[in-house]
């Protein structure tokens, strides 16, 4: 048996890193015990008790890092000391680098974070299911940001997860907030009593931010991926997510968000909601959920869940929104004065698919004339050429025709900015309707990138924006709103409010 050691000065690691390094050393062949500690008097006493104190450590101080290794085979000393050096230099790179340490595999990631219980997978779709299966086999929840995963793989993974009592969020799950941690495209919101299950990424972002901005908070926000509520998948994770929140002690109110689910999925969800002891608000865009709260927009759903969590009346929410409506009508009257000549149409340019859908559903009964969209909802007609607007047009810039080979429009504003300029130059455009989505993953430099284009557009047409985000987001909601207003845009607290204002503006125009 022999004990060897190393001393390092001027480098610091947190305790978990040191413990993991100690474990890694202890697990090496020929190593009986190992410790990596700061050289305090007390730590040296423990090293002595563990038989790891050597003369080399005698004159060390509190700020020295001591590495002691006990070997059962002295011939391996050189080899182990080399391994120690490699381990320290590797960890130093991780500790001091630019936060870009990227494990090359799931196993590699788990050596860095062995206690992780959720694996976020964002790799090419064809490999994603395999990695997800590995994570499930190891008893870990999965969030699949990846898309292009086959529906057969999705169903198989979700069945396995359900059997194991685990969640598979996704594929194509863009956002979730788990135990207060925003994942992928998500906003920084406070923790609270409202749990969300959503088959809609931007829908989840919108309601979680509205809840935060109304003073309440989120217990968990579970994304399922949009396909989960379709017939083939059968809402497996939407239902499991709902059950998890109904069982969760920290969740007092549940909010469900989705585009219209398959009829059988809707029936299954509604049956669970009907027997729930917790209040549930269901916002299925274009379909009715269980219960009598019946929100008409993501905003109303969010505010209703806040009211329920705060034991307030839903009538107060309805009455507040009604009052706000009157303000919007008055505001629209003023904005209408800006429109001249042939200006008569809304051009909605959305980075969030759910916002585009919600806009169509809100406006289809409000505005005169034909409505077109590249992702039509309700009675809206399909837009023949997504690059060119016709009459009232609603474009989801997150659809494939815009995103093949380029980043999502929440990240890369180039395409939308060009389209804003084009629409502003169109003599028939009265209102440009925009969603500005903040949070992790979204464009970090949006103030600079939007400022000029909004200023130019607002000189020619009415620009109405909603900002989905919070003041805790890295972009800071207040700063973004301030820039937009200074640039001449009208900023409203939700997509629904922005749509209503746009609708009121054009519905009163006489062209």
């Amino acid at each position: 048996m022999s004990v060897i050691g190393r001393i390092r000065q001027g480098i610091y690691f947190d305790s978990v890193t040191l413990m993991n390094m100690g474990r890694e050393l202890s697990g090496m062949e020929g190593v009986v015990d190992a410790a990596i500690v700061m050289g305090t008097h007390e730590n040296k006493a423990i090293l002595q008790a563990a038989g790891l104190l050597i003369d080399l450590f005698a004159d060390t101080s509190d700020s020295d890092l001591l590495i002691g290794v006990k070997l059962d085979d002295p011939s391996k000393e050189e080899q182990i000391l080399e391994a120690v050096d490699v381990l320290l230099s590797k960890r130093k790179e991780v500790s001091e680098g630019d936060n870009t340490f990227l494990p090359q595999s799931l196993d590699g990631a788990l050596t860095v974070l062995p206690d992780a219980n959720l694996v976020l997978i964002s790799i090419a779709g064809r490999y994603a299911a395999f990695e997800a299966q590995k994570a499930l086999d190891q008893g870990r929840h999965v969030m699949m940001f990846s898309d292009n995963v086959s529906i057969e793989d999705e169903v198989a993974l979700k069945i396995v997860a359900r059997e194991k009592g685990l969640l598979v969020m996704g594929p194509d799950c863009g956002t979730a907030i788990i135990n207060g941690v925003p994942l992928a495209f998500a906003n920084v919101v406070r923790r609270g009593k409202i749990g969300i299950v959503a088959a809609s990424g931007t829908g989840l972002q919108e309601v979680s931010c509205l809840i935060h901005n109304a003073g309440a908070g989120i217990s968990q926000a579970i994304g399922t991926g949009g396909r989960d509520v379709k017939k083939q998948v059968g809402g497996i994770m939407f239902i499991e997510g709902l059950k998890a929140l109904l069982d969760d002690a920290e969740t007092e109110t549940v909010l469900l968000v989705s585009k219209p689910p398959d009829a059988d999925v809707l029936a299954a969800v509604n049956a669970i909601v009907a027997s729930s002891s917790k209040p549930v608000v269901s916002m299925f865009l274009g379909a009715s959920g269980a219960g009598d709260n019946n929100p008409q927009s993501l905003e109303e759903a969010a505010l209703m869940s806040v009211a329920l969590a705060q034991k307030k009346s839903l009538d107060d929410v309805r009455s507040e929104l009604k009052q706000r409506d009157e303000v919007l009508l008055a505001q629209a009257e003023e904005l209408r004065n800006k429109c001249t000549g042939k200006q008569q149409y809304i051009r909605g340019l959305f980075s969030g698919g759910t916002f585009c859908t919600e806009a169509q559903l809100i406006l289809e009964d409000m505005v005169k004339g034909d409505m077109y969209a590249n992702a039509p909802a309700g009675r809206v007609q399909s837009l023949e050429d997504a690059m060119h607007s016709v009459a009232h047009t609603f474009v989801d810039l997150g659809e494939d025709e815009f995103t093949v080979g380029r980043p999502h429009p929440m990240i890369d504003y180039t395409l939308r900015n060009k389209r804003i300029a084009d629409e502003a130059d169109d003599a028939e455009t009265a209102v440009i309707l925009l969603d500005i989505v903040l949070g992790y993953g979204s464009n970090m430099n949006l103030v600079e990138e939007l400022k000029d284009v909004i200023t130019d557009a607002a000189r020619k047409v009415v620009v109405v924006c909603s900002v989905t985000g919070t003041d805790m987001d890295p972009q800071n909601r207040g700063a973004v709103i301030s820039m937009l207003r200074k640039s001449g845009a009208v900023v409203l607290p939700s997509n629904a409010a922005a749509c209503l204002l746009a609708g009121y503006v054009v519905s009163g125009l006489s062209v």
């Binding site: 947190d14 305790s15 040191l18 100690g22 015990d33 700061m38 730590n43 090293l47 509190d62």
Partner: protein, 285 residues
């Protein structure tokens, strides 16, 4: 361009040099004084300067009155940006505190990092430590805690100080929690724990600059935001708030938050069960 969001109320004027750098925190020192430049996710603290984003360069920090220079960038501090680290007056209700401590303990057992001192509250967790050095470390800390709460303050603190892994060893973090707990008790009970705090403080100081600075802040009743939130929640009416505050403090550092919280918890707990005298025989459960 870096933006200064908030600044702690206990930063001493002077020129600070970089001491250590982590993902969300850069520690700077000026003789015995510490300040940390941190991101918003780390949050407010008595010697924290919260910025967005974290400066990339290795330049120092100069604090002169209301002007702070970080990495060459000058920021003027407004009154609203100052984080107040002292506790507000609080009421003591034994039954509420007892219930809240129990809720805290439950969250702590479920969510504290396995490498933290959570084994002091949940002995089953000791199996997460490997035989050999790690188990010896646990033994030493357990012995120190037992002695401290049995009234043997000197040997207790001496066993704990400087003991453990990390930049501020777990034993130091625990003692910091004890000092914070005593400050909270002073305020809640209107009793004077000044003498015992001073004893613990003097015994606990060693050669670790960061630990010393944090011990001084704790002795002076200066709380980091998540510590303050936890104490306020423990003395308040909402169990849910306790759970959230517990989760927040457990997320502080790798194990530091949990180690400090365990010292704070055991001090408050001990006070309830020993008629407000936390360090007397029988005071420790």
């Amino acid at each position: 361009m870096m933006e200064l969001l908030t600044i702690g109320d206990s930063i001493v004027d002077g020129a600070y040099e970089e001491h250590s750098r982590f993902e969300q925190v850069i520690n700077y020192v000026n003789r015995d004084h510490l300040l940390s430049v941190v991101t918003a996710s780390v949050g407010d603290g008595p010697v924290n300067i919260v910025v967005r984003p974290l400066p990339a360069g290795a330049g120092g920090v100069v604090v002169a009155g209301e002007r702070v220079t970080v990495d060459g960038q000058v920021c003027e501090v407004t009154h609203e940006q100052v984080y107040r680290s002292l506790l507000d007056d609080t009421d003591w209700h034994t039954d509420i505190l007892q219930k809240n401590l129990s809720r805290f303990c439950q969250v702590f057992k479920e969510e504290a990092h396995p490498a933290s001192l959570a084994f002091l509250l949940d002995p089953k967790r000791i199996s997460a430590f490997k035989p050999g050095f790690q188990q010896k470390l646990c033994e030493q800390i357990s012995a120190g805690v037992t002695e401290l709460f049995a009234g043997q303050v000197r040997p207790g603190v001496q066993k704990l100080k400087g003991c453990g892994l990390g930049l501020t060893p777990s034993g130091d973090d625990f003692i910091i929690g004890v000092l914070l707990g005593l400050n909270a008790l002073e305020l809640g009970l209107n009793e004077d724990y000044g003498a015992v705090m001073e004893t613990i403080y003097c015994l606990a100081r060693g050669g670790n600059l960061l630990s010393n600075a944090l011990l001084t802040l704790a002795r002076n009743g200066r709380f980091y935001h998540d510590q303050k939130q936890l104490v306020e929640a423990l003395f308040g009416q909402s169990e849910a708030r306790v759970a959230h505050a517990a989760q927040a403090i457990l997320g502080h550092g790798e194990t530091s938050g949990a180690d400090t919280a365990s010292g704070l918890y055991l001090t408050l707990h001990s006070a309830i069960f020993s008629r407000h005298r936390p360090f007397c025989a029988g005071g420790h459960l």
